[in-house]
């Protein structure tokens, strides 16, 4: 995109700056629209599974429901509890929202369509996702109220636990792709299965890792069945109990942006990202971002499906799954994967 602006007669530095700003807007604005629509989709899918009709009043098929909610929330009064730590109370939702947007910088949307093509793409995502917990922890503490505080404690422990296994899972992917550059990870999946199928998913060694990653990403985004941070039966609404109007909406948007990010990661790391499912010429006629979008929507459907059907975990079960099941298993698969690669790819 920089070349385009250079051709318009700008100096290289200005062209780079304008291109980067345009790139950020090109990602962030559709993402916000996508989050609004995905909240609608979530409610519709959830309603359909409960044999209800879901939002169906605002706009055709209720399509504009999220925008109506947004407008309503925007017009509400922001209430800050007197006992709250005011500065941190207001910063916390902003942190959640910003961090949820930051990780999208290294997602490849098509071949060449990536904002920051850096060598350490996957590590960057890991680093950013480890920041996500701060919004929750700070909001829980700054609210100066018991339920949000419990929720913050739970969130801190839960996210750290699952980050460990996610780290090892990503190591397996990096080993197979031979790079932590997101673009090269996608390209390594071209024709991966028998030279026909694109994606790490179709590998006996990587399939269990994919399943673990899917479950861990549910836990990492605190979606059902791991939504212990906002378990309404125990903690009212968890860390967002004291929040109202836009500060609440920012949590909401950030949460769904994170869910979309995790769906995208599932698609990029295991389902070949922007590549079509089969490595056959005519499928490449459909542009790459359409394939990526379809895969993201598929994973989002899985997320909603799980939310609608699986009951919430107990807290000790959550910890047991993270530390006693996923951590040893993902470590085992790091050893297995590197051993297999030593025998095949790097055999002397």
């Amino acid at each position: 995109m920089t070349d385009f602006f250079v051709n318009l007669g700008m100096s290289y530095e200005w062209a780079w700056f304008v291109a980067t700003v345009c790139g950020i807007l090109l990602i962030a604005l559709p993402l916000m629209l996508g989050v609004a629509m995905i909240i609608y989709a979530d409610r519709k899918i959830w309603a359909a599974m409960a044999l209800r009709r879901g939002p169906n009043v605002v706009g055709p098929f209720g399509l504009l429901q999220s925008f109506a909610d947004g407008l309503k929330v925007f017009l509400q009064e922001t209430i800050v509890p007197t006992a709250a730590n005011k500065g941190l109370f207001l910063i916390a939702p902003i942190i959640t929202f910003t961090v949820a947007l930051m990780a999208w910088a290294v997602i490849p949307f098509n071949s060449g369509a990536i904002l920051a093509d850096i060598n350490i793409g996957l590590l960057y995502i890991l680093a950013i996702s480890s920041l996500g917990v701060y919004g929750v922890v700070i909001s829980g503490w700054a609210s100066n109220s018991k339920y949000p505080f419990f929720s913050a404690m739970r969130a801190a422990a839960q996210m750290i636990s699952y980050e460990v296994s996610i780290g090892f899972i990503l190591v397996c992917v990096i080993l197979y792709a031979g790079s932590s550059n997101m673009y090269q990870i996608v390209e390594a999946q071209r024709g991966f299965g028998l030279g026909i199928v694109n994606g790490f998913f179709f590998n006996i060694l990587l399939f269990p890792i994919f399943v673990m990653f899917l479950i861990s990403s549910l836990a990492e985004t605190a979606r059902a069945p791991f939504d212990l941070t906002e378990a309404e039966s125990e903690l009212v609404a968890g860390y967002q109990t004291e929040y109202s109007s836009m500060s609440f909406a920012l949590f909401w948007l950030g949460e769904y942006a994170n869910v979309l990010l995790m769906c995208t990661l599932n698609a990029v790391l295991f389902f070949g990202g922007y590549l079509p499912p089969l490595d056959i010429g005519f499928l490449y006629v459909i542009p790459g971002f359409v394939w990526l979008l379809l895969k993201i929507l598929f994973f989002f459907f899985v997320f909603s499906w799980v939310k609608a059907t699986v009951p919430r975990f107990r807290y000790d079960q959550l910890m047991r799954l993270g530390w006693k099941v996923f951590l040893p298993l993902s470590l085992l698969f790091v050893v297995l994967t590197s051993g297999w690669l030593m025998f095949t790819r790097f055999a002397a």
């Binding site: 530095e13 941190l88 850096i118 060598n119 350490i120 590590l123 960057y124 890991l126 680093a127 480890s130 920041l131 917990v133 701060y134 922890v137 700070i138 503490w141 505080f149 913050a152 404690m153 801190a156 422990a157 996210m159 750290i160 980050e163 780290g167 932590s180 000790d316």
Partner: protein, 205 residues
């Protein structure tokens, strides 16, 4: 130009947040300022081209260590007046530590002015791989030249971990832990019986 501005921006932020760490009255605020300092230090690392170290700094320190730190500080019930009361008593010790740090800094600066130290062998065998990325050069060094040191560090960490577990392990007399396999393998036939008792006879269990 832009590098200079960014460098001074991040350096100023690191120093400012480090000052706020010790000046903040609330310990939770201190930890949050510390996290900001870590984050800006990572930005400085990116600026000098050590992007791998920067990411590790964020993942390990900001993402894990600082969260646990925050966790502990939030749980503590700290009496601020009591903390401030001990200030005079501990002031000489603090001054001593400050003096030691200052002397170290001074000696370091003098030594640096006297000329740089050549690291490794002059033939450049331990130098970073030319033209390779951060991860590749660190990996080549860590798993090649310093393999045994690296493994020794791993063994020491393992011993430390086992030690910590042994120190905190308590055997409770009758733990009521959940046996999930046993629960899952339990069938309705094991748990329930169908009876058809005579009217007025009741059921014998």
């Amino acid at each position: 130009m832009i590098q200079t501005i960014t460098f001074y921006l991040f350096s100023a932020l690191v120093i400012a947040s480090a000052c706020f760490v010790i000046m903040a009255r609330n310990p939770v605020h201190s930890v949050l300022w510390l996290i900001l300092a870590f984050f800006n230090a990572a930005a400085l690392m990116v600026l000098v081209g050590a992007e791998f170290i920067a990411m590790l700094l964020v993942i390990v320190y900001v993402g894990a260590v600082a969260v646990l730190f925050l966790f502990v500080v939030m749980m503590l019930d700290i009496d601020f007046s009591e903390l401030r009361a001990g200030f005079i008593k501990n002031a000489p010790l603090g001054a001593l530590i400050a003096l030691v740090l200052f002397v170290e800094l001074f000696v370091g600066l003098v030594a640096w002015n006297a000329g740089g130290v050549t690291l490794g062998t002059p033939d450049g065998t331990s130098a970073a791989v030319e033209g390779a990325s951060n991860i590749q050069s660190i990996g080549a060094l860590l798993y090649g030249k310093y393999l045994f040191l690296f493994e020794a560090a791993g063994v020491i960490l393992l011993v430390a971990m086992v030690g910590a577990i042994v120190l905190t392990l308590r055997h409770r007399p009758n733990p009521r832990s959940q046996n999930i396999a046993k629960q899952v393998s339990r069938r309705p036939e094991d748990a329930t019986i169908n009876t058809r008792p005579e009217v007025g006879a009741g059921v014998k269990l």
